[in-house]
Subunit: 186 residues, 2 copies
């Protein structure tokens, strides 16, 4: 199941802290961390989604250093990690690409630190349904203050918040993704 | 046990990919991610260690924005997270500070992606010994290509590598810390 599961790092539509819909900026370090995480757990890959072509161009230029350039020559492990990463302008494009690769459309879930009011499965329940499923799987992560409601509606389910011993739950998207992947695919 | 456990993010002595001892540069995002992680799991705090006073000064200036400045006014959750963070020039200073806070010296462990040849405990064994222990606990993380041998010698034990389904194990320090903390303190 790991090799047919993908991480999708979403930048639009996300919301800011006031709940307004925005496009968040891509953080270069996220792209590295997500790719290294996906390769370490043997996942199918990472999609970095943004609706801004200029952001994609900039990132492709930066990542060219690691994939086709001197960075990749000096650090083959990083090159290998980043080769599992692709850009996509919309979630629908990601769905189309993964459907084409696997011959069947993916199931979609997201994690959320907040209760977003749709069907919720625990990490254990999610793991169990992935083990039984014959479909590929997309795990969405929102940047900024989270995913806009129209993305939530496209999910088959939402994974429970990462339970912790405190009321404070403000993990970075890098931490949340790492913990979620370890719980689901470790 | 969580509130007497500390994360220590080490920048010296670390090694580069050729095994040469270096001081790595502090990554601002690491400081944020580690602080948010420590607060989410109710840990005692985070020590960012570097032997370079100029690096500490620079970081204190940047973090002043979040703790005493406008960033903190706008984002109280981030202010709260970063308030659990302290700088230290050496590991011995961290040990002295934590010993003073708790009236007894800490046990020290590190995680390693490589086999470093000292006593190894699994995550489950580490969790079990922390539950029984009356001492505080330091969990060390190396930046660059890992901690220098002289740091390894100061550890009471090393925690097993984060086992994954692949041979590729090149997680970022942010991912490794997140997964380790979730396994030990979740």
């Amino acid at each position: 199941m790991n090799s047919s599961s993908y991480l999708v790092l979403m930048h639009y539509p996300t919301v800011d802290r006031a709940g307004k819909v925005i496009t968040s900026a891509i953080t270069a370090l996220d792209v590295h961390d997500f790719s290294r995480l996906a390769r370490t757990y043997g996942l199918g890959g990472v999609f970095v989604q943004t609706n801004l072509p200029k952001q994609m161009e900039l990132m492709e230029r930066l990542l060219g250093h690691w994939i086709g350039g001197r960075g990749g020559e000096a650090n083959a492990d990083r090159k290998f990690a980043l080769e599992c990463m692709a850009f996509a302008p919309t979630l629908d494009d990601v769905v189309a690409e993964v459907s084409a690769r696997h011959g069947t459309p993916p199931q979609i879930a997201m994690t959320s630190a907040r209760d977003v009011g749709v069907i919720i499965k625990s990490f254990a329940e999610t793991r169990e349904s992935l083990e039984k499923s014959k479909q590929p799987f997309l795990l969405l992560f929102g940047t900024a203050s989270g995913l806009a409601p129209e993305v939530v509606e496209k999910c088959d389910w939402v994974i429970e918040p990462i339970g912790t011993p405190t009321d404070y739950n403000h993990l970075s998207v890098r931490s949340a993704a790492s913990i979620s992947v370890d719980r689901l695919f470790g």
